[in-house]
Symmetry: C2
Subunit: 185 residues, 2 copies
DNA sequence: CTCTTTCTGTAGTGATCGTTATGGAATGAG
DNA sequence: CTCATTCCATAACGATCACTACAGAAAGAG
């Protein structure tokens, strides 16, 4: 009943696929690039992951889960200003971390608009909490502010892809922070 | 000496190429898509424009010139706050204009980092002028602020590509404006 | 051991990629 | 007119695209 077992680590292969998609995006990544990065042959890839679309879906979901961890950790802070600051700071560092491709797969890949909407919604909810906590003015447009923050993070990702240094990206983050309305004491 | 004249309008064909590259980017645009959009056959394309790389270079330069017109008109305003506001406003409208593809070719295409650097430098110089005019605090980091503004515009372009409405993109622009330090009276 | 099942590597599918050779049509020069 | 020159359309080039048929190898079940 049980035939020959798979000779490669599926999770490790998926991680390699994540990095390859991260570096070159969906369209520019060929199956040949993937098999080389993953250390397997095309039939193994198709047997284990379906096709290129399904592999990308699985890879982008793994990437998304990792990204959400960082965002969730940041927005868990009790003060909304600290929460957003940490989110932007963490984003800037992730976009320029050595050992990983520059920029962000979720923010760069055209077909991941759904993931971006999810993150934006989460940011908006954290801002609404900030308003409820009295840490943001009651008339704050959380929707508008969340869209702004997503746009800034997307811009940070693009700057990182253009070769921007960690300092430059962090400076963008700290500048964006000044657009957060201060607590009205 | 003078043979058969070209049977198509080179400028019109170039304009069609600009729009095609604008809509689908360099890598995702095939010669077949270009020839269809331009209304010519491959040999005509290669005879008139060299190859895909040179055609893109010419197209992106034409696009860049048009973009710079808008930016230059905006930053020509005497008040730096009005200048930046008009630049962001014009950018938002250009990214969502009916009749043209959403977003911005210059801000989206990976290989146009050089054009982005030029625009950023121009913005930075305008901000420095604002400092000299006393419209921005003397300790303003114009370099940091210009990088921020470029990042925001890039994010606006991405939002537009994701299907964002003109109102949403304009809201991002107006939020970004609040990060401009006010005149210190 | 044998049998069955599943994986693996080679090799190749048709389609499309960017690019171009070829040959006839169209034009200005003389 | 003739001739030289340039352009256009068909058709094809080799390379690569995503994907898979095939056959042999490797493992568990009995």
């Amino acid at each position: 009943m049980a035939g020959r077992p798979r000779s490669f680590d599926r999770d490790a292969a998926l991680a390699a696929a994540v990095e390859q998609f991260w570096r070159t995006g969906y369209e520019e990544t060929s199956i040949a690039m993937l098999t080389r990065a993953m250390g397997i042959t095309p039939p193994s890839l198709y047997a284990a992951f379906g096709d290129k679309d399904r592999l990308f879906e699985e890879a982008s979901e793994a990437y998304f889960a990792r990204t959400c961890e960082g965002v969730d950790r940041a927005v868990a802070r009790t003060d909304v200003h600290e929460a957003i600051a940490e989110m932007l700071d963490g984003t800037a560092r992730a976009h320029t971390a050595a050992g990983t491709p520059p920029g962000c797969l979720m923010l760069t890949e055209p077909r991941l608009a759904g993931q971006r909407a999810v993150v934006q919604q989460r940011v908006q909810e954290r801002l609404e909490q900030g308003v409820a906590d009295g840490d943001l003015p009651p008339d704050t447009s959380t929707e508008q502010l969340a869209a702004f923050l997503l746009a800034v993070m997307r811009g940070m990702s693009g700057s990182a892809r253009d070769g921007g240094t960690a300092e430059e990206i962090l400076a963008i983050a700290s500048t964006a922070l000044t657009a957060l309305p201060p607590r009205s004491t």
